[in-house]
């Protein structure tokens, strides 16, 4: 070690360095310049190499590179990189609609829905045919809303039509348009689009079966239903936890009137897929449909219907259609009525308390003139589910016209009911009667006139209108309503007006067509 740094070695090194840098003479100077100028020369060489390599890369190669990177980033959920790549592609070629569309998709994935929509609108304006996938995406988006407005549905239809006109083989657009028409009951328009969509997949065979059935093509309907059963059965076996596939399979079997098969599918699914509530509701609905079918059969089988009712209520004790059947049974006389009532009480006793059961029992109590128990049931139903406008309406009616009137609460309850369904004639009738009871004649007339055309038993409405017009000094109109009342009374001689024409059963917005 010490030898390495010995004075003689250091001296030799010093002299070597001096030889490199300080040797006189043209040749040495030439060498030294070369040595010192080498970094600059190398830098220039590197710059030239870089320049040539940059010049050799074509714009097309760069675009292909970016497209590949964008795709990779998109598949690995690296949205920021994907967005940048597509923006670059669009910047280089603003006419590249594929990249613009992909950019819109990435922006949507990043949660920037407004920017995504801006791009889609640019690609697919409503008033002209643009980029087909963008039209499809817009149509899909518009129909994805929970309750699309008529304007949205119309816009979606236009977009889908433009998508198909630009690219007729766009199966999803055909399917969506077929579905849109089918939901609107425009069967003849739906059928060709669904047929086009079915060329690729049997996913829409069930809808096609329903459309053809609605058009009276029974054989085609059964054929499509069979295709749907096969498709969904295969899907369910491939994806055993796919609830939607099981539901569609059961529905397809229903299209073949195979209630037992549908219930069997749902029973197996309930066991397999951890008791999914959607499956229970579907099973209860199948039971309700089966009961309906039994009731309509030439030789009704009340015992089987009651068994099915009990089975259905085990799946879902609040299924509205089943409860409606139960209400109908309670209105009958004799043993079946008692059985139905017992079934409801048993459900409550077994802990299956629900607002719907209380609503049914309350309605039954009113029908039997038992106002006190009715009010208890409605109060309980309201406490369990303050979003049921029917309960609010019935309770408001009882509070206004019962033995211990509470007009203020009745008014607030009917307002709640009207907030959820402002055009419901029963609710308007109830509100009108309350206004009349409070002497608010103008408001009463406004509500009752609106409700009148849709009421099945308008006798109390006519009576209240006659009274209101009389108080407002409009004797002619009051007389006219009294005449109508007389005509109705004569037509239903011996039938007492129902307790509150505004009282309704357990129909819910969900069950209304």
């Amino acid at each position: 070690m010490s030898d390495a740094f010995s004075p003689s070695r250091l001296a030799r090194l010093r002299s070597a360095l001096r030889a490199v840098f300080h040797r006189d003479g043209e040749r040495e100077r030439f060498r030294r310049d070369l040595l010192l100028g080498a970094p600059a020369g190398l830098c220039m060489l590197a710059a030239i190499v870089a320049f040539v390599s940059v010049a050799l890369v074509s714009g097309r190669e760069v675009a292909a590179q970016y497209r590949l990177k964008a795709w990779k980033a998109q598949t690995s959920n690296d949205h920021a990189t994907a967005r940048l790549c597509y923006e670059r592609l669009v910047r280089e070629n603003p006419a590249d609609k594929q990249s613009l569309f992909a950019l819109a998709q990435v922006l949507a994935d990043m949660g920037d829905a407004p920017s995504s929509l801006e791009l889609l609108d640019r690609l697919a304006p409503l008033d002209e045919t643009g980029f087909a996938p963008a039209h499809l995406a817009l149509g899909r988006q518009l129909l994805a809303a929970t309750r699309p407005s008529p304007q949205s549905v119309h816009a979606a239809e236009q977009h889908l039509l433009r998508a198909i006109s630009a690219q007729p083989d766009l199966v999803e657009a055909q399917g969506l348009l077929g579905r849109l028409y089918a939901l609107a009951g425009r069967w003849e328009l739906a059928q060709p689009h669904l047929a086009a969509a079915l060329k690729n997949s049997d996913e829409l065979a069930l809808l096609m079966a329903q459309v053809t059935a609605a058009r009276g093509q029974a054989d085609e309907a059964r054929s499509y239903a069979r295709r749907a059963v096969a498709f969904w059965a295969a899907r369910a076996s491939l994806q055993p936890t796919d609830v939607a596939a099981r539901l569609a399979w059961a529905q397809s079997l229903l299209a073949l009137d195979d209630f037992a098969g549908a219930l069997a599918v749902l029973d197996r699914a309930i066991v397999a897929i951890n008791d999914d509530p959607r499956l229970r509701l579907a099973a209860a609905t199948v039971c309700a449909g089966w009961i309906e079918r039994l009731e309509k059969s030439p030789s009704p089988d009340p015992a089987s219907a009651l068994d099915l009712l009990a089975r259905g209520l085990k799946y879902d004790p609040a299924q509205p259609a089943l409860l409606n059947h139960l209400v109908a049974l309670t209105h009958l006389s004799g043993a079946r009525s008692e059985s139905a009532r017992k079934l409801l009480n048993d459900l409550l006793a077994q802990g299956h308390e629900s607002a719907m059961i209380h609503l049914v029992l309350g309605s039954d109590a009113i029908a039997r003139g038992q106002l006190e128990p009715a009010q208890i049931h409605f109060e309980r139903a309201w406490a369990l589910d303050p979003h049921l406008p029917q309960v609010a309406n019935n309770l408001a009616w009882l509070l206004a016209f019962g033995e211990r009137p509470d007009m203020a609460r009745a008014q607030s309850l009917i307002k709640v009911a009207l907030q959820s369904d402002p055009a419901n004639p029963h609710f308007r009738d109830t509100e009108g009667q309350i206004h009349a009871r409070l002497g608010q004649w103008k408001e009463a007339i406004s509500d009752l006139e609106a409700a009148l055309p849709a009421l099945s038993d308008p006798r109390r409405a006519h009576a209240a209108l006659a009274e209101s017009y009389e108080h407002l000094g409009m004797a002619d109109l009051a007389a006219a309503h009294r005449r109508q009342l007389q005509v109705l009374d004569q037509g239903s001689e011996g039938v007492a007006p129902a307790f509150g024409s505004g009282k309704i059963g357990i129909e819910t917005p969900a069950t209304r067509p």
Partner: protein
């Protein structure tokens, strides 16, 4: 042994020097000094203003070092003063002094600092010729070149550096493509995944180009390189700066993307600037050697050196100082008058009054709120990727920003200050890649400019206005001519340097804007600027809080 060898030996060793200082002052030395001081003093006000204006500009931050270099070069040249020189021919003096004087008067009247610098250079040349004839002029000409050439007009420097910056960004972008690094270039902005790099900041190494030119010039003159060689070296210096910055940008992006190493953070940024500057100088030295290797050595031999003197009787040399004639005194008075004119012009423009202290009157604790708008900050992680907050950056010292969502419109409101006179905001947007479409001037409630912007994939709407401390809204027509010759010929404007405040509303979208949307943006801009202007005027110093 040559004479040079003797002189150097004499200077270094303890023996008696060959060149002796005069024992008593030369007659005529005082008038010559006084004349020179008067001539140079005539340039002083505008040169002071030039120094004050250029001081904060990064491209001029090398100026003190340049002055030191000039002093050193002057000292060197003084030591190598030729032994024989005689004053220049009197008949040529008007031809040298009068153009310089005319230039100075023009600079004084038009209030153009750089012209005064050029006039100063010419005047120095004239003085050198007057004192020592052609030989003295040639001897000191490099000094004049060193003092004038690296200090071009501020506006030229802005254009030159922004051109270089654009070149660096373009080349960086191409190189990033060749390396397969994902990025998006918008003007001077480079977008990389999750990060936006404003090359204005990331690449301030470009600012060192003027320093590199100055250093190259100094070294070239000091090492007595030929003008052609100096020119080649300057070209190489500019090239080295651009290449170094390309390497810096590309390397920075690569390191950031590949290893997460951030070379664009403020601390790393400063160090990188110094390293780049040093690397450029080393490359220049290397390039000089390379030129030596390729085209041979290029150096004029230095004349013999002695102690700096103006006359040297001991050496037997005939050095005679010129006589200051009446005409020369008149000339000196004309220079002095030009200096006084500069003082007067500066006073009329309100310049000297604002030379010291704060240049604007808004209180430092001023606070602003705009109803319906939400204040945002640049480093807010909640920013949307397409927020215009970052792109709407100006050169202002203070910048406050708000945002608002109106339907699909995401609007950014900004208040930037202080500026002096009118500020053309569209240049900032052009720098970030926007194409400026036809701007329209509006006048509801005061002048403002509506500028549609476009990019291949985006559209923008920019509304902006400038308000001064008297509450006047500035229009481009009113202030735009100040930078033209015709505008300057009208004389100084007291409001040209008045502090102004910029209010802008900017929004961008992938889809074009409808006329209704543009009108909506206009209304929001007008309401917001009214709020801001009211609060601004109420918070000026001297107003009750």
């Amino acid at each position: 042994m040559t004479q040079t060898g003797v002189l150097e030996q004499d200077r270094v060793e303890s023996g008696p020097p060959l060149v002796q200082p005069p024992r008593r002052p030369e007659r005529g030395g005082l008038p010559v000094t006084l004349f020179t001081l008067l001539v140079l003093g005539g340039h002083a006000p505008l040169l002071i203003r030039f120094a004050v204006r250029a001081g904060p500009v990064p491209s001029y931050q090398f100026a003190p070092i340049l002055l030191l270099g000039a002093l050193y070069l002057g000292w060197e040249r003084l030591r190598e003063l030729p032994p024989h020189h005689t004053p220049g021919r009197a008949s040529l003096l008007p031809g040298l002094f009068l153009p310089a004087l005319a230039l100075l008067w023009a600079a004084s009247y038009l209030w153009i600092e750089w012209l005064a610098l050029v006039a100063g250079g010419l005047s120095l040349c004239a003085i050198f010729y007057w004192i020592g004839g052609r030989s003295l002029l040639r001897h000191f000409a490099p000094l004049v070149v060193l003092l004038v050439v690296p200090l071009p007009p501020i506006r030229f420097v802005f254009f030159f550096t922004s051109w270089l910056r654009e070149l660096a960004v373009t080349w960086s972008s191409s190189l990033l493509d060749a390396l397969g690094i994902v990025h998006l270039r918008s003007g001077m902005v480079l977008d990389i995944p999750g990060r936006q790099l404003l090359v204005k900041e990331a690449c301030s190494g470009i600012n060192s180009v003027m320093a590199v030119i100055a250093v190259t010039l100094f070294l070239g003159l000091w090492r007595r390189r030929s003008p052609g060689r100096i020119f080649l070296l300057i070209l190489a210096g500019v090239g080295a700066v651009i290449l170094a910055n390309v390497v810096r940008i590309v390397g920075g992006v690569w390191l950031l993307q590949r290893f997460g190493i951030d070379l664009f953070s403020p601390s790393a940024h400063e160090s990188a600037s110094f390293i780049i500057f040093a690397a450029c100088l080393l490359l220049l030295a290397s390039f000089d050697s390379l030129l030596n290797w390729i085209i041979g050595r290029d150096m004029t031999p230095a004349p013999p050196r002695g102690r700096p003197v103006l006359s040297n009787r001991a050496s037997g040399a005939a050095r005679r100082l010129p006589r200051v004639t009446k005409g020369m005194w008149l000339l000196a008075l004309a220079y002095l008058a030009a200096g006084l004119l500069q003082v007067r012009q500066g006073w009329a423009a309100g310049y000297w009054q604002t030379l010291w202290g704060k240049s604007y009157s808004l209180r430092s604790n001023a606070a602003f709120t705009v109803p319906g708008w939400q204040r945002v900050f640049d480093d807010d992680p909640a920013h949307h990727p397409r927020d215009a907050v970052k792109s709407a950056r100006t050169d202002a010292r203070v910048s406050l920003r708000w945002q608002r969502q109106e339907g699909r419109l995401r609007l950014t409101l900004a208040l930037d200050y202080p500026f002096k006179g009118y500020y053309d905001l569209t240049r900032c947007y052009a720098g970030t890649g926007w194409h400026i479409d036809n701007a329209a001037q509006g006048s509801e409630g005061g002048a403002y400019l509506q500028t549609p912007l476009s990019m291949p994939d985006s559209h923008g709407q920019l509304f902006f206005a400038l308000v001064d401390e008297k509450g006047n809204w500035l229009s481009p027509q009113q202030y735009g001519d100040y930078n033209t010759l015709a505008g300057r010929l009208k004389g100084p404007r007291p409001d040209a340097l008045m502090p102004t405040y910029l209010i802008q509303v900017m929004t961008e979208s992938y889809a074009p804007f409808t006329p209704e949307e543009i009108d909506q943006i206009r209304q929001l801009f007008l309401q917001a600027r009214q709020h801001l202007a009211q609060q601004l005027l109420q918070q000026l110093e001297g107003k009750a809080p």
